[in-house]
């Protein structure tokens, strides 16, 4: 069941196209990766979801209904550029932001207590934001994003500014939030975290959506029939056995075993490759190389730029 759907969304700023006919649909309880180079239009789409701007054309639906201003109460948004009122006390500020999302003061305090406990930041309650370190401020900001228990969470570059330890805590939190029923839209340039977290991705380039689908499927789609073989034997002999259908991408020789990466140019059964080299090699392992999101990203963007 889709929690959020954007249908054929267009948005233009004076002469710049920010979004052209973009449609995405985000399943409930999933983590959706919104990817794209800088300036592709991701932030515009995120702002449309947040009701900060309205699309020129197209519509956005939450739970199958056209989104209304009141829906922002069910959204938690962590923008890429973050900030808090510097002179305001942490607790007071968190309560204020929660109330702006529609919580009552009482509920806000109760929920904040739990989160502050969880993140070990109870001592900060009466401190001014400017007294906290950058990392601490990020934590406060994260808590203010989730405090009202939103159904839909939008994280724009959530890991920027976090050290590896806090990044891990954050990742764990994001997964836990999904576990507890939240749906997450997640925009980042950190492709490693996309592989780890995202169930589904959409890639936007120059205002147009160019790739959309479940993360694993997309990686499969972008594989280029490269196989990695670890074997014992002489490389020259093995290479001599390969027909024109194959191309050696790389090879390394070590004392215990050699590794060879071969691309199957015409496609076809993997068995052909194994059969071809069997006479000269004792095969230890054989696997197909699945591209990482990083490769997918670069390949997809380059392809779309070349058209």
């Amino acid at each position: 069941m889709e929690l959020f759907v954007a249908k054929n969304v267009y948005k233009t700023f004076s002469t710049t196209k920010a979004l052209t006919d973009v449609s995405i649909s985000v399943k409930e309880h999933s983590i959706f990766g919104l990817l794209g180079p800088n300036g592709a239009g991701k932030t515009t789409l995120i702002r449309i979801i947040n009701q900060i701007t309205a699309p020129d054309e197209g519509e956005v639906l939450l739970n199958g209904r056209r989104m209304r201003q009141a829906d922002v109460a069910h959204i938690g948004y962590l923008p890429e550029e973050r900030g808090l009122y510097k002179k305001m006390k942490v607790g007071e500020q968190a309560i204020y932001l929660a109330r702006l999302k529609g919580m009552s003061r009482h509920d806000a305090v109760a929920s904040l207590k739990i989160w502050f406990e969880k993140f070990e930041m109870k001592d900060w309650w009466n401190k001014k934001v400017e007294e906290l370190s950058k990392g601490m401020q990020q934590k406060v900001q994260f808590v203010t994003t989730v405090v009202h228990n939103p159904k839909l969470l939008i994280f724009d570059e959530p890991f920027s500014g976090f050290d590896p330890i806090n990044s891990n805590i954050l990742k764990r939190e994001i997964l836990e939030l999904r576990q507890n029923g939240a749906t997450i839209i997640f925009s980042t340039h950190n492709m490693g975290s996309v592989e780890e977290l995202c169930d589904h991705i959409a890639l936007i380039n120059k205002s147009v959506k160019i790739v959309d689908g479940p993360t694993n499927e997309i990686r499969q789609r972008y594989k280029s029939n490269i196989f990695e073989i670890t074997y014992k034997g002489d490389f020259e002999k093995v290479a001599g056995l390969l027909s024109h259908d194959f191309k050696v991408v790389s090879h390394t020789e070590q004392e215990t075993a050699n590794t060879l990466q071969v691309q199957y140019l015409n496609g076809g059964a993997n068995n052909g490759l194994i059969q071809a080299i069997l006479p000269a090699a004792e095969i230890i392992s054989f696997r197909e190389i699945i591209p990482g999101m990083n490769d997918v990203f670069i390949k997809a963007v380059q392809e779309s730029n070349n058209i």
Binding site: S14, G83, Y85, L97, R99, L100, G102, T144
Partner: protein
Amino acid sequence: MNKTLLILSQEYLKRVKKKSFIILTILVPLLFVGIIALVIFLSAQGDNEERTIGVFDESTIFLGELDQEGFTKYHFIPQEEYDRLRSNLKESEFYALLYIPSDIYSSNQAQLISEKQLPFEVIEQISGKLSRYLETEKRQKILDETGIPDLDERLRASRTSIKINTLKVSDKGQAKESSSAVAFITSYAMGFIIYFFVFMYGAMVMRSVMEEKKNRIVEVIISSVKPFQLMTGKIVGTALVGLTQVAIWIIIGIVSMLAIGAFMSPEESQQMSQSLMDSRQMSPMGQEVDNSQVAEVLALIGNLNLPLILFSFVFYFLGGYLMYSSLLGAVGAAVDNDEDSQQMVFPITFPLILSIMLLFPIARNPEGPVAFWASIIPFTSPVAMLARVPYGVPLWELLLSMFLLLLAMFGAIWVAAKIYKTGLLMYGKKVNLIELIKWLRYKS
């Protein structure tokens, strides 16, 4: 709770709790009261510096006749000494040198030589002394010549001084005593206070918007509320801070006036106010000061249309403030840094600054064309009309001015809301007026 109200109360409490607000709110009236008390105290003390004035009397009329008056003593000196001291006044024991020429009887002129600029008071005192003495001399001469015994009394009885009591006739035909001086001071003060408030609180809104944009918190906020709600809450919240301040000042003013009245015996207060009047009304002939003058001034203030003035103050403060602060708020949203804001602020606040420059001519001639136009045009009317109100303004002019101010205010809010919305999330772009006009055409 309504989100606009939430923002409003947040903005209000944030400012009211600030130390600077508390200090300003408490300190300004205390300072004001302090200054008034000081002035009263000093003028009651009078001038107690001992001065000795060296007199070279060429005419010989005054020789030995100038007695000590207050703290000013007169010491007659011969010509040689006068000539010597003239070029070397600093070393002498004299405060100043008075030269009375031989023809003073006909020329009515004397010279006072001093190192520094002499206080007006001293000059008045000396001139009064000389005049009185010479006048008596002349009168005595006339009396001797004519030989009419009671001429002196008769002449005194013929001396006339006509005091003009100004009365203003209202529509109902009631004549009330009015005073131009009281109206002038009230008018000037009102205009200035409005200017001060609109400027100060408008700038406060602008800084607050800029801070939110600079901090980047604004994106989080407008993902929870509409920009217009944010702007409204901020502007209205800040306006309430201003009104709170005025209310506190009025209360402190009334309380301290009552307190001063309670701590002072009637004679004392009369004495003080009399000496205040004395210092103001230095007449060479030592005119008597009317003891009831203070009460009269108070009555005159009471005769001003206070409810109308108060109502106009609140109306024009709110109208002018809403107009200017929404425009300034829009500037705060449009720019990225302080320098850019300075460039944009000036064209917007120029009419306000102009109106404060026009304040004096308006207060002096509240019926003139400058006063009329300045109080009708919405950008200057908050200051200009408030300066006119204490004098009384034709109803249609007041209504027209108010109506135009409301129109301009709503126009300004509409323009500001558009710019605000576009500007808030616009970073790294140098904004100018042409760019802003372009933003007005953006659809939301």
